[in-house]
Assembly symmetry: C2
Homo-oligomer: 342 residues x 2
């Protein structure tokens, strides 16, 4: 049965980069318009690695969101935290995000030794604070996530009560690993459901599709699609939407990140509709996250209609500036669009 | 025994893009300075696919080379050629270059059906005209060369006297295939001996290292290195040096090509020295090509000394223009440099 309208209850983006300052002010509205809340990444410069910094950043985020109904679920940047620090932070955070040093944008301050981090993992486990992980080793670019699965395995065994979120998974290996431990979960982006390395580098090289982890093989994409479309109970949507200005993307040395916040819901609806899986979209976009994180989001209903629209090329329609932010799916026609919020 | 100087006899670049017009005038000197000759690619717009066009292009190339001792070995762009056309062209060409349609820069006019091309292959075989091939399918970007090996196999069996050159090979599969048929040979670039996909996309995305075929895995690079350093008798150096202006590389949609002509010899000497294989450099850089193609190049000796120098960032030291051409190894210090020509 074909439907021409779907209403999503409290869509959540469980992995979002909102940046700071002027960029935050430019991009916050796109997420706040379509989502009831999002998990806000802490990889600023300097990283958000104290409660003071987190509360300051949260105020900045809330100011940028304005009157929208949207909850920013804050995260701390992983470092060694004392029990007192964790206890003080706990009411203000949804989890702590671990970046291995150097694997992505602003991760230079990240973790250099998993073994050294274990005492903090033990304290997080005891306090019930989830661990969100950018799971890539420093190996060959296509093998990094697969190699990191061994580390996930070690952590999941050693800290069986620690909730571990494999962020933005991109490989069939990570999907398969989901079912090996009860305390392992994952987020999946919309772009990794739609593109492979072929889209990035198969024709002309596309810097605006370059992200970390890099898009992988067709069989990896199929495994991700399978998990998402079936709303595998351990996967959640997390856009990893990550805006960069053109001068950082169309450059000799292009920054990693795809800016997908404005069309993520429309893309997902089109995709789930295409595969006749719209019944599972609510779980992927919100239900699973509510159960996994024990969240009760604010009331917010987002209706999408089957009605073609053209994705703008740039944020704010700014086209000629080196500061312009190019959108994922720029100038593409999508068959679903967000029509109302209530 | 360490040596501080090496003299190469008639270095040959068996795969070179010299372009046309102003770009040809800008880049010709770099190849003409260090090489005794080069195989000139015909993928212009429109392609060089008639004897008239070839002779006109050769005149343009010779004018750009000026007084340098340098032989441009011309190639035709593959299409169906009659026996009369092939006989007329034969004295003027070293071979015919086949591009599957759409696989690289200016290949839109390329071959769509290998079966339809077979009558021309048969005529080339009878006349002793080599077939140079950009061997990639239209499959997933990392699989294209491996998938094309099946086509090489078919052609090598069906046309056992046709000399088939697998151009710019990038995979361990292609290296392994070299030994399966006596009529199959290969060129290898300097950049594929030095980089993997990690260098292109492992950190920031590097558009100036983006080329077709794309750089592959570490084990592929090791197989290429092994073939080159041992001067496998069926491999030849071919730079595939392919200049593009910055506006075509640092862009939303970056053209494929690495510009390596100016430092190729220095890079190769450094590499062969590093692996204690300088004794094999002459065969890789000239001897194998002379034997495979039955060439007698012009007398030209190029001496390199162990003396550090810094590779310029841009051709002609032009730095601020969107027309600037960025060099491979830009701003890197190499330990060998070309010191004299005679």
């Amino acid at each position: 049965m074909s439907t021409d309208s779907i209403t999503l209850n409290a869509p959540l983006d469980m992995h979002l980069h909102l940046r700071q300052g002027k960029m935050l002010e430019r991009v916050a509205a796109a997420s706040a318009a379509h989502f009831a809340g999002a998990v806000i990444m802490p990889n600023l410069v300097p990283p958000v690695d104290s409660l003071d910094a987190l509360l300051r950043y949260k105020d900045e985020v809330l100011a940028a969101i304005g009157a929208s109904t949207f909850i920013p679920y804050m995260t701390l940047f992983f470092r060694d935290y004392s029990e007192a620090e964790l206890q003080a932070a706990k009411p203000h955070i949804i989890g702590i995000k671990l970046y291995p040093a150097g694997v992505t944008t602003n991760s230079e301050a990240g973790t250099r030794s998993i073994d050294d981090a274990k005492p903090t993992f033990a304290r997080m486990e005891a306090l019930g604070i989830p661990l969100l992980v950018h799971g890539e080793t420093s190996g060959f670019v296509l093998d990094r996530e697969r190699e990191f699965v061994g580390i996930y395995d070690e952590l999941a065994r050693e800290f069986p009560k620690l909730k571990i979120i494999m962020e933005h998974i991109t490989t069939a290996d990570a999907v398969a690993f989901l079912d090996t431990h009860p305390n392992v979960f994952a987020t999946i982006t919309v772009h990794h459901l739609l593109i492979t390395l072929d889209d990035v580098a198969g024709g002309l090289l596309q810097p605006h599709l370059f992200c970390k982890p890099i898009a992988k093989r067709p069989e990896d994409r199929r495994a991700l699609l399978d998990a998402a479309l079936n709303a595998h109970p351990k996967v959640m949507f997390g856009s990893d939407s990550a805006p960069h200005p053109r001068h950082a993307k169309e450059a000799c040395g292009c920054a990693a990140g795809v800016f997908s916040a404005p069309m993520a819901l429309a893309c997902l609806t089109e995709l789930f509709d295409y595969y006749d899986a719209l019944d599972n979209l609510q779980a992927f976009i919100s239900g699973n996250a509510q159960r996994i994180y024990k969240l009760t989001p604010v009331a917010k209903h987002v209706t999408l209609n089957r009605q073609p629209w053209t994705v703008p090329t740039y944020l704010d329609e700014v086209t000629d500036s080196i500061d312009a932010v190019r959108l994922f799916k720029a100038a593409d026609v999508l068959s679903w669009q967000v029509s109302s919020l209530h």
